[in-house]
Subunit: 431 residues, 2 copies
């Protein structure tokens, strides 16, 4: 079946907002044997009408995103209804839940807001659990007089569209495509190994399996590996990947590194604290993004200045003077002091030079030390070098720190030392 | 003049690669009064031919990206030439520079590589200074028998396309558009007021100005307002917006709230500390994302548990017992203790229920108190209610806290109190 996507939004065509929907929807529908064969981005104007008319004739499944909000430039709902010759009817249930939503939030009711409860006659409503504008689905040829594909109309904000798509659109799509050419897809999230090294390790062997499709996606300090194929192709590929990459795979369930760590700590009733200099709270923020983090996260010290290192954690000023704030000894002291002050089982510490300024010939921008203190083993400190922009630097350091902790947690209390990990691919020990 | 963009590339439609060209080209051509009115993404197939034919009829300027490389799936060059009825001719100069380039890099010569020196008869070549495949420009109606727009064919890799576009395409575009209808664009980033309320406040008045274009983009705790028009239209619109929204506008230079705050604090040589419970380090993380933050950010206390509130900041356990950790009094205490411990001029504190668990009838998930302590005025505490997913909750709270601080900083030392703000705005006082 031919699928197409229309992204509406003047802001997209002005370059103010980067579209995220094509990549997301393409990956979601691929396992159903569906591919987007054409994507069009059009402004919030009459152009929507013309594009709908053209694509109605050209595909069996059509996704339309954006333009469902309360403001005057949100006209997608109206254009879709008109193009299909369907009347817009106010859905009383939607209206009530909208009113509820706004009352709860103390948002003033405006005329525009009510429009979000209008839906084309015969549409199946997709509730929006993360925003106010619902999405909807219109079956193929819903108006016998106007030949049309299956049409899915979805809100623009990714955080609204994505959960809605997975929860409501995917089941409808399944019933449309049936269980014919179903493909399986597996994801492997890998930390501490560079993309090129992952490919070198498993690329050829996996691609030697006929029919298998292999994809890589590199993020700061992380590689996402994707295989797609029929069950009988997936299994041998999975065997190669898991046996080769071993412990470097931190999730096969698309979990984040912080989610995995919170699970591991909760399982062992253990706790964590952090002493962050160069990451400035990013590690604590990532950990506390995970529901249930409060059970395992005790305290986070963001000791950005030297004085804070001394005031908050009692790090000896002489130590900082002697070795500099960005040093093995200070990373060690931060981790051990944080663990002591917070009374946690583990403590992670970071100290480094994020830049753009503050570097020196001996310690250039990108230099960073990560420390892990724990009860069962002596404190480990690892040095990394991430010469990049400030935000990427912070992400790489946080990722490296969390991975050091994860390795410790899965290698268990027994091990007194651990293989060094690296977010660059200098590391050949993939186990 | 109507401009359109075709992105070729099967990988784009599989979601393996994020397109960067639309945003880049849109911003580059905007100052010339040009806008992309339609963008199509098509696979490396016959679809390119059909799309070219359709857009030839629809625009005066057409950009085509990707598919110029040496591999078999690179067919854009051939499709463009065919569509215009132009012969492909090998350019001896290009062929030589290609050979030179490969020799220098010790890359083996293949038949495919030579194709990159083929150009349609009459094309103006754009040298590729960062890769091997050149781009080219074909003037409108280059083949009198086939009506066609100005066509710009550009390589896929952004690092090749972008410098080529700026150095070679822009001058050609300038000569095409002349210095006629140049448009201006202004952006306003607004915090503390909801999207609907912003529209209610300025929408009608601004749209009453003939020719002006108005756009909204909502983000957690923030609205981005965009106006486009000729200078004589922009000025009155700008006057309406700035006079109506006043202090709610935190940037007209596309800065983030944290960038604005770091600037303000640096300007006054003032410092900040944070005591974050429910935001878990997000505020510290955002502040420390800004280069130069080390000059103004002293310390961040992520006191997630009750014990941490007492251990780190000496908050009286009886206070927590009496009012609960999520309360006006504890928010106040956290802010004041953080300011005292860190010795900073200002301190922001957050305490709330991020959920999904931990709510109660009296304090449901989404309840949060934000405190601001300072030298010059008594501590202010504001209550908010953000019933949403955990990460959005944290973003909304961080945004509200930063906005409370920004208002204080711009209202200056003098003011002893301030108008309450709200990230979803029950607030009608837009000043």
């Amino acid at each position: 079946m031919r699928a197409a996507l229309i992204n509406t939004g003047t802001e997209l065509l002005l370059g103010d907002v980067q579209d995220a929907h094509l990549a997301f929807i393409a990956r979601e529908i691929f396992p159903l044997g569906l591919r987007i064969e054409e994507r069009r981005t059009v402004p919030d104007t009459e152009a929507i009408r013309q594009t709908l008319a053209e694509l109605f004739r050209r595909c069996e499944i059509l996704f339309v995103t954006g333009g469902l909000g309360p403001t005057t430039d949100d006209i997608t709902r109206e254009m879709v209804a008109e193009s299909l010759g369907l009347e817009l009817r106010q859905d009383p249930e939607l209206l009530n839940s909208l009113r509820r939503r706004l009352r709860i939030r103390g948002i003033k009711w405006t005329a525009g807001i009510a429009r979000q409860s209008d839906v084309p006659a015969g549409a199946r409503v997709f509730p929006n659990e993360n925003g106010s504008a619902p999405g909807f689905y219109l079956e193929a040829n819903i108006n016998p007089r106007i030949p049309s594909p299956h049409v899915f109309v979805l809100p623009g904000p990714p955080r609204e569209l994505q959960p809605m798509f997975q929860k409501y659109a995917i089941p409808v799509l399944r019933s449309i495509v049936g269980s014919s050419a179903l493909l399986e897809r597996r994801l492997y999230r890998i930390a501490g190994v560079g993309e090129s090294l992952v490919e070198e390790a498993i690329g050829e062997k996996v691609l030697a399996i006929p029919g298998i499709e292999l994809g890589y996606c590199a993020r700061p300090g992380e590689v996402e590996l994707r295989i797609i194929g029929k069950a009988e192709e997936i299994e041998p590929a999975d065997a190669i990947i898991t046996s080769t990459l071993g412990l470097s795979i931190f999730s096969t369930a698309d979990e984040t590194l912080e989610e995995v760590i919170v699970q591991l700590l909760r399982k062992h009733n253990q706790t964590l604290s952090t002493a962050e200099s160069c990451t400035g709270g990013l590690i604590a923020n990532r950990i506390t993004n995970v529901p249930g983090a409060s059970e395992i996260f005790v305290a986070g010290y963001v000791c950005y200045t030297n004085r804070a290192k001394t005031d908050m954690l009692d790090v000896d000023p002489k130590l900082i003077e002697a070795h500099g704030a960005v040093s093995d000894s200070v990373a060690r002291a931060l981790a051990e002091r944080a663990r002591a002050c917070a009374g946690s089982d583990y403590a992670l510490a970071t100290t480094g030079i994020a830049g753009p300024t503050g570097g020196s010939p001996k310690k250039p921008v990108g230099t960073v030390y990560v420390g892990l203190a724990s009860a069962e083993a002596k404190t480990v400190v690892q040095k990394f070098f991430f010469p990049t922009d400030r935000e990427t630097f912070k992400q790489l350091v946080a990722q490296a720190a969390l991975e050091i902790l994860r390795r410790r947690l899965i290698e268990g209390q027994s091990s007194k030392s651990q293989a060094p990990i690296s977010s660059e691919s200098s590391n050949t020990n993939l186990q």
